[in-house]
């Protein structure tokens, strides 16, 4: 093996990679005079978990809202399977195959699991809801995605734990055979054990061939789940790297690169404590 062939090998691997299902090209968004996103390019491939990380105000949530149809970009284009796509509303995005699990999970606490599962995509028989079939299908899907022990599908979602709710939301995306799953801080309110459970579901979505975008704050946890890190700083993409087992410190350095250059600090001179302190800011 020569160095060249090694390079070829990497290139070959890149060729084997499936083409992106969803792509943002030079996407920008401004609110009045504030630039929230500036010419951002990100691609999402089936079966790949992309972790979007960055400081507060780095443009993560703006990007999520554009990808899920809540905001329309001012500039640039969105591509789905290589074709230009316009996502005018959350409904458009859902119909295109993008399921977003927001921080509040998109679940209505006061409604049953089955009604939540089919909310916005209800099954009917004539003019009426086909509740029997909705409950049966929900149960079937829960079993299929490994949530079969989640108690009666007729009970209120408010009875479920945080992890169970995440599981339902993710399960909903998988069950409806969406092509892309966007998760906004999926583990922020969960215990360690529940987080691991949710990660299992995210991995399952990946195995099923969904493109996954995962916005996360926690740099320790994100290393366990991501295939690739995309890092935003002040509305720009500053890094887009495969997960090669970078340390928490290295991730923090990606995030803080912009800030460090502003402050004129050498990256190598940083210790973990200073990094943490900077992250806290």
């Amino acid at each position: 093996m020569t160095g060249g062939s090694s390079t070829e090998g990497v290139a070959g691997a890149a060729l084997v990679q499936p083409s992106p299902w969803f792509e943002a090209r030079r996407v920008g968004k401004r609110f009045g005079s504030v630039v929230a996103l500036e010419e951002v390019d990100v691609a999402f491939r089936p079966g790949e978990i992309v972790a979007l990380i960055g400081d507060n105000g780095s443009g993560k949530s703006t990007f999520v809202k554009i990808a899920s149809g809540v905001y329309q970009p001012d500039g640039g284009t969105l591509l789905i399977e290589g074709r230009e796509a316009r996502l005018r509303s959350a409904k458009d995005a859902r119909q295109a195959g993008i399921e977003t699990v927001h921080q509040d999970l998109g679940l209505v606490d006061s409604m049953s699991i089955a009604r939540n599962f089919f909310l916005g995509a209800e099954l009917r028989r004539g003019p009426f809801l086909d509740l029997t079939r909705m409950e049966r299908e929900t149960r079937k899907m829960l079993v299929e995605i490994g949530l079969g022990n989640l108690r009666a599908v007729g009970q209120e979602v408010s009875r479920l734990s945080g992890g169970e709710r995440q599981a339902i939301s993710i399960g909903r995306a998988v069950a409806f055979q969406k092509r892309m799953l966007i998760l906004d801080e999926p583990t922020s309110a969960l215990s360690i054990k529940e987080t691991e459970t949710v990660f299992e579901f995210i991995r399952m979505a990946k195995v099923r061939g969904l493109a996954v975008l995962c916005v996360m704050h926690n740099l320790v946890q994100v290393r366990d789940i991501a295939d690739r890190f995309v890092v935003f700083w002040h509305g720009r993409k500053v890094a887009d790297v495969a997960n090669t087992g970078q340390s928490e410190k290295e991730l923090a350095e990606y995030i803080l690169e912009g800030k460090l250059s502003e402050l004129g600090i050498e990256r190598s001179s940083l210790d973990t404590g200073t990094l943490r302190a900077l992250m806290q800011e």
Partner: protein
């Protein structure tokens, strides 16, 4: 709060949700506990349970206290016709409350729509046209409430407080405050509120019919599902693609139509209508809905519960009289019942939902 069997099942099954390989089977931890408690839980989960208990207790109490007059067929015909008009209003108000909104203008809408209908009949218009005008006004009033609330993004409590004054004023303007009396009621009015057999009046069937139709709409159709979602968590509903604005406006329109229709029914009952009729309905309808299990915060409620709630209010009014208790007590007792019923709903809710929230 002590863990109930259901809550215990919750605890034992939590954390066991590790995903199996696709298609794999799952051991169901705590399943037997579930089976044992599910019948009770299912019963407790019925929002009508609390109010049904209250109704049964009141029925027994008044039957004993009234020397056999309370539980007579004739008295229940009287309770039925007293319930019907408020009941039709309450059906609409409870649906609206499920969607997370209030309508304080139902009483004004009731009188305004029915007065226009009465004046039209009085002036010789075809009675069905007059009924159409009544319904049309109901749609218009509801649409205005809905659009103003949604477009201006103000609480419906405020919108409908405003339209309550607006329509009350218009009604007085149109009639000068006078009562409009129909001396020779046409068939339409008899069909709405006339006698079916003895003391049993048509309005009872209109109320039951309205309850059935709206109950099916709310609990068994897609629109109903969306009403619950919009009232339960509006943002979540929007995120899942529910047409939130349209659903909210529809709720106001349904409420408006039913209030106006109730006015027409009362016109059929009394052959007489004035601006002050229905003036107590906005608060009584909210009280009946709340007593029947509608959450003030929206997202929870049942049409059947609200209907039983209306009957309970009328049972109180009627039963206190027949038991020889001063009717002055009525309002005080209603106040206590409202608080007690809501406290009961909260307890039952905690019991069935577990205490984790």
């Amino acid at each position: 709060m002590a863990p109930t069997p259901a809550a215990a099942a919750t605890v034992s099954s939590r954390g066991d949700t590790s995903p199996a390989p696709p298609g794999g089977s799952q051991p169901v931890a705590g399943g037997w506990q579930l089976a044992a408690s599910s019948a009770l839980t299912r019963l407790l989960r019925q929002r009508e349970l609390g109010i049904a208990l209250v109704a049964i207790i009141l029925f027994v109490l008044f039957s004993l206290l009234s020397h056999g007059t309370f539980d007579s067929v004739q008295n229940w015909a009287a309770i039925g016709s007293a319930t019907a008009e408020l009941g039709i209003v309450t059906v609409g108000v409870s649906l609206l409350m499920v969607s997370g909104e209030f309508d304080l203008s139902v009483g004004a809408n009731f009188a305004f729509a029915a007065l226009v209908m009465a004046l039209m009949i009085h002036d010789g218009y075809p009675p069905l046209e007059a009924l159409g005008a009544d319904i049309g006004i109901g749609i218009g009033v509801g649409l205005l409430n809905g659009l103003v609330t949604v477009m201006l993004d103000i609480p419906s409590f405020i919108t409908t407080l405003g339209t309550f004054f607006l329509w009350s004023g218009v009604t007085l303007l149109v009639t000068g405050g006078q009562t409009v009396t129909i001396l020779n009621p046409p068939g339409v009015l008899t069909a709405l509120g006339g006698s079916v057999s003895g003391q049993i009046r048509a309005e009872i069937f209109w109320w039951l019919g309205a309850g059935l139709v709206i109950g099916l709409l709310l609990h068994r159709t897609v629109t109903g599902n969306w009403l619950f979602a919009v009232g339960g968590k509006r943002f979540a509903a929007r995120e899942t693609g529910v047409p939130v604005v349209r659903t909210r406006v529809i709720a106001f329109v349904i409420c408006g139509v039913l209030a106006a229709f109730a006015g027409a029914v009362q016109l059929g009952h009394l052959d007489s209508m004035s601006a002050s009729f229905g003036s107590t309905y906005q608060l009584e309808a909210i009280a009946a809905s709340v007593v029947g299990g509608c959450a003030l915060t929206g997202g929870r409620g049942s049409i059947l519960g609200a209907m039983i709630g209306t009957v309970v209010l009328q049972m109180l009014d009627n039963g206190l009289i027949l038991s020889g208790v001063s009717p002055y007590w009525y309002e005080s007792v209603v106040g206590v019942i409202v608080i007690a019923a809501v406290a009961l709903h909260v307890r039952i809710g905690r019991l069935t939902r577990g205490a984790e929230q």
